[in-house]
Structures are given as structure tokens and as C-alpha cells.
């Protein structure tokens, strides 16, 4: 599917900078942002929150049969990252051979190209993750 232009644009800041939200009542972090805290309901107080981008690989796979528009990137590692604030997010792990990805590996957010709509359409940018090493501190 070709995501609509406004859809891709609408959450640019969140996708570029890993901005979600936090419930000040219970301290839970959300990415993508939630406007209602599922725990606190009407007692929750939701504020925007910018994540540090650091976390650990909670689980991963290597995508070898890609969806439309991602064929050029195979094979690529897709993971659920547990961010240090506790929330989890789905993203690709790059700058590593996919076979070397491991559960528990520390990673950090990096700004990359997510998707290109052909040769003439929009380029979508956003967060991916890469292994933390001394070079990136």
C-alpha cells in the first residue's frame, strides 16, 4: 500500500525524534503517543515525551520476503526494541549483519531512510536502531 502523504507527514516529528507520551500519574511511557492512559483512565495526566533512543533488542527477525516497496532492502533485521524508559517499539536494526543480531543487544536510535515511493515519490525518513559501540557515544 502507498501510504498517503498527509499520513506520512502528520507524525514526522514523532518518527524523526522518537517522541511519544508519558502518563505523569503512573509514570508509564508510550510510543506512539497515547492520549489516554489505559491504566489510569481519566485520572491519567498525559504529557509529550522525547525518548532517549537507547534500548535493548527484545526480539528480532530477519525479513527475507519484503512487503511492497521494501524489496530492495532484503535481507534486513526487524526488531522490537525495549527502550530504556520501558516502552517498546518496532524498528529495523542496521549497521550490522542481520545474522549477528542478538536478543539483549544494546542499540540506539539512528536517523535513516525508511521507505521510498518509487523513483519519483516521497522519501520517508525516521528512526531505525544500530548497535551501540564506542564510535557512537
Amino acid at each position: 500500500m502507498r501510504p498517503g502523504l498527509p499520513l506520512l507527514w502528520r507524525r514526522t516529528v514523532e518518527r524523526y525524534n522518537l517522541v511519544g507520551s508519558r502518563c505523569e500519574t503512573c509514570g508509564t511511557h508510550f510510543i506512539p503517543a497515547r492520549n489516554i492512559c489505559p491504566k489510569c483512565r481519566r485520572k491519567g495526566k498525559i504529557v509529550p515525551y522525547k525518548f532517549s533512543g537507547r534500548g535493548k533488542i527484545y526480539t528480532y527477525t530477519i525479513i527475507r520476503v519484503a512487503p511492497e516497496g521494501y524489496e530492495f532492502f532484503v535481507p534486513y533485521a526487524l526488531a522490537i526494541i525495549e527502550l530504556e524508559e520501558g516502552a517498546r517499539i518496532t524498528g529495523q536494526v542496521v549497521d550490522i549483519h542481520p545474522d549477528d543480531v542478538k536478543i539483549g543487544m544494546p542499540v540506539e536510535m539512528v536517523f535513516r531512510k525508511i521507505h521510498e515511493d518509487g523513483d519519483e515519490g516521497l522519501i520517508t525518513y525516521g528512526f531505525k536502531f544500530r548497535p551501540v559501540n564506542e564510535v557512537h557515544q
Binding site: 530492495f72 531512510k113 525518513y125 564510535v135 557512537h136
Partner: protein
Amino acid sequence: MTIGIVGYGVDIPRYRIKAGEIARVWGEDEARIIDGLGLSEKSVPGLDEDAATLAVNAARRAVRHAGIDPQRIGSIFVGSESHPYAVKPTATIVAEAIGATPDLYAADHEFACKAGTAGVINSYALIKAGEIEYGLGIGADTSQGRPGDALEYSAGAGAAAFILGKERVIAKIEHIYAFTTDTPDFWRREYAKYPSHGGRFTGPPGYFRHVMGGVKGLLAKAGTEPKDYAYAVFHQPNGKFPRAVAKQLGFTKEQIEPGLITPLIGNTYSAASLIGLAATLDVARPGDKILVASFGSGAGSDAFHIEVTDEIERKRNAVPVRLVITNKEYLDYGTYAKHRKKLIM
């Protein structure tokens, strides 16, 4: 008024291809190529890297190094000859990704390999005019060389971002000078995938005339001589030209060596002289004077007289260029061709 560098950052893709691997495909003599170009490998962007991603990651490091609130950045200029879009700015992507929007000036530059320093000068000028507090100048490129052409061995990928301001300056920009003529040594027409160049014509009438013109003009303006500088950084399209021009201008090997990065990662075009400056600042001491002369085909050279301050010891960059470069993975020509979209899908 002191205007200078308050922070900088670079981003260099981790992928490399060796000159010998390219030579193998085209039946060239590896030793002759390495000797002729003065470089043995070059950086290659990842499948998901382009001038915009490199610019953003370099700019984020620069913001961290500067330790400033990005909302105080009043200008972002991104110089590149490989902007991802022909129409739609890279600078807006950077501005959003570092959290500098919406209160700022932003624009893209193109001037072959000196579009990065052009942005530094523009931000410098806006600060000097009192219009903005901090300004960003970025050079970022994922340049293409025609397969089999001499440029294929050198066209690399990388970015450098410099934040200028007036407070907590690590290196003052004391003088700037630019030397510009209309010289067709290298170009890429609209819609063309690969650049064209004048072969040996890129040398004396192009690179050497303009870099020497820029440096001589700057020395005259600053009232300095080559020996007054601890370091000099010249645009480095390969490993040979900067060494040759240094020699002709009377600079020593020791002055240019810390900033000679192209031999390790290839020519990063708009980023090349700025990455060289970053690598030099990584090792510079308070009081050191640094001369920088970029070169952009077409043609022109921007020259800077920079003086390092005591602040640099309190604000050392945590991500030195030569450390970034150590993180690398070699590609074979086939994978490189995929990375550079030389494969027809």
C-alpha cells in the same frame, strides 16, 4: 566580535569498498590506481543512507557537542551535490530532525565540493549581521562516480556539520575569503546520474588555481604566512591533490596530515574539507591557528583563518573522526553496486 565554532559532528557510513575490488572488475592495475589517486578505499552509503540521513546524524552529534538548545539555532544550510530531492530541501529535514523548527532560516546549497563551506559562510554572515544566535553549516554527500571512471575509486559518502555562534566558541573564525571564477572542470547536468569532468583539466585550471587563489587571498587578508598555522586543511578530491597544493603553497606534511581523511574514506565532496577540519580540531590545542581552503568545481574556493580557543579543552568532541572511521565493513563489488543503486530492479 568573536564568531566561531561551538560544536561539530560528522557521520560516515560504515561500509567500504577497496580500490583493488573496483580495479578487479574493470581489469585495472590496483597498485597503479592506489598510487595514482593516493587512496586505497572509499566509504559507501548503506541502503538506507543518503545525504539527508548523513546530514541529520552529523547535525545531531554537532548539537550534542555544542551542548545548546536546538531551538536557538537560527539557520541551517545543507550543501550537497547529491541532495535526495531535486526539488524539496534537505535543510528542512535536518531542521525537523534536530528540533530547530520553525523559527529559523533554512536552505540547500549546491556548489560541487564546496557547498558545505558555503553554508558555513552564510551562517557566519547571519550571526555577524546580528540576525541569529547560532547557525549551522553542513556538507553532506553520497556522490556517484560513473562505473569504471576514475571517479568511481574516489566518490565516497559522509557529512560534517558545524555550529557557529558567539558563546563558548572552541575555535574563532577570524577571517574568511573566497575566490571564484567560471571554470567548467566538472559538472552534472540535470537528470544525469553521473557527473562529467574535464580529466586533467580538473587539475591546474580547476583545483590548483582556485585553492591557491583562495589561500593566497586569505593570507593577504589575515597578514599571515603558511608557517603561522599549526594545521592546514585543503579540499581533498583524492590523496594526491591536497599534498601537492600544500607543497606548492609552502605548507608541510605535518601541517596537513591530521586533516587528510580522503585517503581513508574517499572524497566526501561537500563534506570533504569540513571532515578534514573536524579531524584537525579533534587534535588541535588552544592557540593553534588552522587554515582551511575548500574547493568546488565550477569553480571556487572558500578559505578560513581559524584560531582554537581554551574552550576546546573543556569541550572535546566525544566522537572523533578517526574513531568513527574505524567502524567499517567491506563490500564486494556486487553488494556495492546494490548499495549505489547501480542494479536495475
